[in-house]
Symmetry: D2
Subunit: 342 residues, 4 copies
């Protein structure tokens, strides 16, 4: 009953097996391996964008940070939800990579920015000439940090606000597959067709060992990305082992199957939790949820062997952060729900 994070799960066997296949013989290093050529083609195909620039890195932190660094300036304001991962959980990595850009929190219920709140923030920043930071870009997380999901229409509404100020838009897709599965949208619909310029396309949380793609729809940005990646120590030498993971991940829709399982288990868990009487802090729309319980309930669950993070909530209550993974089983969910019911 391990619900701490989808990064606490291991890798899917097909992805592990791909490493062994890739291990055979010599391969050109630093991204010039043949597998990466195939990955690029796969990604372009999935995104229906034949010119997209595609790069692999080992962590979501750097996928996001490099995306921001390439699409903004040191004096930029980067607009993101107040609780965005890039703002709260990366120890200032965006500031490090951008040489000091400023993250501007945009509020919104359920972890989602609203167009109005974004417009208000854009109106407030960037109007003081040289004395203030300049409007730089917008970053949207989907699945959000609250476990909710933006529809493509909602994303398009946000990017429309951004585009009114000519700002590029980033999608933090650490759980991109889960967002697609939850909405039924295609990769193209959720990204460039909705006004997104650059995507952090996650693999790690969804069954890979450690690989994220960065997809940029303007290939003119490619070289700067490559230089920044190298300079950051994120150009891995035996790159075939990143490529192989992602190739396997994308092959035969494995990535979507894994997210489908994680989301299905999320739904089963969320429903069971609700039936048991708990309040969800936010609508549970993918594979992460935040139900509130008394400390006694938490103690009982812990005693039963459940593992998850707790965070402060209403008086006398604490919220649980429960995350299901590609390898979460119905049995595990049901065992948890049984423990919850006591």
């Amino acid at each position: 009953m391990y619900f701490t994070s989808d990064n606490a799960s291991g890798a899917h066997p097909d992805i592990l097996a791909a490493l062994t296949r890739a291990n055979d013989g010599f391969a050109r290093s630093y991204g010039a391996d043949a597998i990466m050529e195939r990955v690029t083609a796969q990604v372009r195909d999935i995104f229906e964008h034949p010119e997209a620039a595609v790069y692999l890195v080992a962590t979501g932190t750097v996928a996001n940070s490099l995306s921001l660094a390439v699409y903004s300036q040191p004096w930029s304001a980067v607009f993101a939800h107040t609780e965005a991962h890039i703002a709260t959980d990366e120890c200032g990595a965006p500031e490090f990579y951008t040489d000091g850009a400023k993250l501007i929190g945009v509020p919104g219920a359920d972890g989602k920015m609203t167009p109005g709140a974004l417009a208000e923030a854009l109106g407030r920043i960037g109007e003081s000439g040289v004395h203030g930071v300049q409007r730089g870009m917008v970053s949207i997380t989907n699945v959000t940090e609250a476990g909710t999901v933006y529809t493509t229409a909602e994303i398009a509404a946000l990017t429309a606000v951004a585009k009114s100020k000519a700002l590029p838009c980033h999608l933090d897709g650490a759980r991109f597959a889960n967002a697609l599965v939850a909405t039924g949208a295609t990769a193209a619909e959720m990204t460039w067709k909705a006004g997104i310029d650059v995507v952090s396309f996650g693999g790690t949380k969804n069954g890979c060992l450690g690989v994220e793609a960065v997809v940029m729809f303007d290939p003119a940005k490619a070289w700067e990305f490559e230089l920044r990646r190298k300079r950051a120590g994120h150009l891995v030498s035996k790159h075939r082992f990143l490529s192989a993971q992602f190739e396997a991940y994308l092959t035969d829709d494995l990535w979507l199957q894994l997210a489908t399982q994680a989301n299905a288990m999320g739904a089963r868990l969320a429903q069971g939790v609700a039936v048991a009487g708990a309040r969800h802090q936010y609508p549970a729309q993918a594979n992460m949820m935040f139900p509130e319980w008394t400390l006694g309930t938490h103690a009982r669950l812990e005693a039963a062997g459940a593992a998850y993070y707790q965070m402060p909530a209403a008086p006398g209550m604490e919220a649980a952060r429960l995350v299901t993974s590609w390898n979460t089983t119905e049995a595990e969910v049901d065992q948890f729900l049984a423990a919850l019911r006591g």
Copy 2:
């Protein structure tokens, strides 16, 4: 006949197998996995230093850059050989990580700094008060970029010069195992017993998929390292897969066996090349060498299927950079030498 680089070779089967073993079940993320605890113990044991701080990252570039960032300041001069990898081949990663420290090239034959040249450089820099950069630290590469090897006495002589100005010393050990095998020294003898404060202890080039350890002998530096690593996007979430590689690498002296093979093949290749009449640019002391041939010879080798990098040399000649790996075979070396003899 693939001699382009040791990072063009794959991973040792035992190390791959360790990934599969590590994949079982859930594990705490971000370095809190149980395997990492064992790795720390292994490294401390190997270095005979029970308090060493031990961290894993995915690339040598970042192992070096974080080491420099933790042990220097933005206004520091970092002294290294003129041809040091950190100075020439990392696209300014050290400058990025240190927020602008200045690399000062120290000349020396065969890729090795001499104590005299280091002392001269230390005397020249840091004497202009606030107007000049300040002496910061010294970085030594072993195996060197020229394929030569510092003895522990040579390292100690350099660190003695550094210590006379109270400067910390870094060892870029991308090929640390090869250096140990070449000299017969222990890990402790080549590092802290010789005055080294922080080591980039390479795994990738020597049979891992992608993992390097940073070993710091002053545990007071640990927390700053952790923050800088996170901020750089180099704290991987499914860290068990870094840990597992390094555990297997260190188990039963696998790391030393692999380096022994690479060095033995290097010696066989170097000797054969010399017997065939080529001049080595530098003494070939580990698994990398730079023989010079005419363009005609290069063409013949290429036609025979040999792969390696070429670089300008004496008029009419070009040097080959030949690197043997943990999985280079005698047959492969002999086939190359046969092609060389024509």
Copy 3:
């Protein structure tokens, strides 16, 4: 009727005259001039702190930014009021100088942080281990950006909260003299005796041409400050011209006299404005105020020759930012009030 800013006024004649005196003959450059020795002694005397490190720079932006850079780390959270000048009006200079520290806004009425709000922010940040930025320091502006003034007790209450987490505290004293005059406190009482570690002690707005002192009560920070200042291009060569300004500024309490005049004119203006029926957005406690008027009133004032900045307020209203200076006269204030009354 020029109330746009105290930096739109010129320099006091005594300070200009000091430049001419200082111009005689040769002088050691880069801060080694004899006048600077006297300035250091003056500042130490005024602050009753014989060991304070004292430096001069040309702008408040850099006085603040270097103070933050010396007392924090790239991964630090710097806590300041939501509307603090360092957060809103310096185009990211603090982020640039600190290599990416994060400013955390602390709310509070009338431009003043409350101990409770600061404690809340300190409790929220720095509790997520390596994943979040670390608590770094606190910056307090006095006179505040709202034209209000912290008492020394209020400052001490804030620094007590900071000290509970061992955080250093910075005072942005761009209008330090005005704050002292407004409260009757001594320089020592408002700074180190109240828990402040480093002060930006303004001269420019209060009658100098362009000079600010940075006063650090821990002399161990001095050398780092000097290196950062040089590296920033803020160590001026003909430093005697900074020194001379500050010497004249401090001589015979000129700095306090000038602030007394500015504050007196501020009080006269504020009272007149209130009598005329305007609402002050914040209590006018020094030389800056924000009364609200209809657009018609603004038009009338403008037609009468008044100059000041306007900013949005309640519907149908705009606030005026009115700043009095060391050289504002009663006649000018009364002329403005007459124009206001129409």
Copy 4:
């Protein structure tokens, strides 16, 4: 007999007087003062370039550093003479401002790069793809750090090499007026007509209190410069006092008159020193020279009251760095020469 540096001299009376004139009344701050408009027109007129972007800052360090930051990238190589001020005497300010660009030393006799050496350096750097820093820009100092002067033809020959790789070129003109006087060239001839893109146009060393202009011939760079200047804390609030200095400096060719005097005194001193038997390390072509004397001679000069810097030279000898200023007199030079003759 003060020959330590031209920045040890004071300001010309006309420039001081301009401060007093500028002090009258209120003025718009942050560079929007009326005097600055006139300065811009003056500079454009002098450079015969009606579109040049013109900005004032307080130090040469920042004039250079901002010029480099605007015209390069963090991953750039900046090519400059091995002994260039930006490389040796600014405590890493260029690295700080560029976020880690790398200065590549280009050797050359008498403080001057040769086209061949520059071409060689350009050929060596930037050929290793993403692994190395990229060719960024070239910086040329005139008057050089050795006291020699590039002719406009020599500058054009260097910029031609740079342009062959499409690199922008910076002129560090801390002693720009002295270089023009020494060569008889016009400002336009020495800069944009010779392939220079951005100039640090010095005022401080040549009779100002502290002001340097940055002149960029591509006005599209203006806004980035403004943002970087603000962010650096180098946008001064009472900007009229920078403007007034530079206006007076340029009025009635004062700047050229002052440099003419400094150079004439330099020539007189250099000739007298040579007649007295000293060897000049470099040809003395403007207002700075490096004659070598025995320690005994140095002691005699010091005893006679001469002030200057000494630096190591041939065995038993030390070089003097002698700098004449706009206010150096014949009497002072002759007194020095008399002391030299003993």
